[in-house]
């Protein structure tokens, strides 16, 4: 693994961490509930990308499956939260 790839992985991890910090700020400071849900949505996508980056760094395929599970569960929970905001209950 060359220096270029190592440094670009480190830079990508730092940038994705900053993006997660932005999402956490929106979760904590969002004026209304839908702002917090949007912040949570971008938070789990960022976590998934961070897992993919870590998988490239370590060269193992385990992180990919974790990223796929994070994406699936994050999508389901975001839709459940949006449904709750829309109707007041998740399963009718």
């Amino acid at each position: 693994m060359s220096d270029l790839l190592v440094w670009s992985i480190i830079a990508a991890q730092i940038l994705l961490g900053l993006a997660m910090a932005c999402s956490v700020f929106r979760i904590l400071a969002g004026p209304r509930a839908q702002d917090r849900v949007v912040g949570f949505d971008s938070l789990y996508v960022n976590a998934m990308l961070l897992l993919l980056t870590y998988g490239i760094r370590s060269g193992s395929s385990l992180y990919f499956e974790a990223a796929l599970i994070v994406a699936l569960l994050g999508f389901v929970s975001t839709v459940a939260l949006a449904k709750f905001l829309l109707r007041g209950e998740v399963i009718e």
Binding site: A19, V45, L52
Partner: protein, 118 residues
């Protein structure tokens, strides 16, 4: 951390560039989430930024692992397809919920002001 095997320079450079580009695009999207003023503007920034960022990072992982020769490429295509399908669905459902909430709040506000005027 174990050092992986050597891979061709072209694949390595492409992986590095795509990783960095995807991370920068994702950060721009998240920064828009912080800076834009209203909710309906804020929804768009992470949706646009994170779709392109996720596609770039998954492409980088795909190129790296297929150059390494450890496994088949199809896995990351799964993530790309999943992200491309779910992000607009999330946007639509969230914006619909926000519109319904805003409308009910406004009608409730109008009713309460009528009550106070009376």
């Amino acid at each position: 951390m174990s050092e992986p095997a050597e891979i061709p320079v072209l694949a390595e450079t492409l992986t590095a560039a795509l990783l960095f580009f995807g991370a920068v695009i994702t950060l721009i999207g998240a920064f828009g989430l912080v800076r834009l003023p209203t909710f309906y503007q804020r929804v768009h920034a992470p949706t646009l930024g994170m779709t392109l960022g996720a596609v770039c990072v998954a492409l980088a992982s795909m190129i790296y692992f297929s150059a390494l020769g450890t496994r088949v490429v199809v896995h990351e295509v799964l993530i790309v397809i999943f992200v491309l399908f779910t992000t607009p669905i999330t946007l639509l459902i969230l914006v619909r919920a926000a519109v319904v909430r805003d409308r009910s709040e406004q009608s409730g506000l109008a009713r309460s002001t009528e009550r106070t005027e009376r």
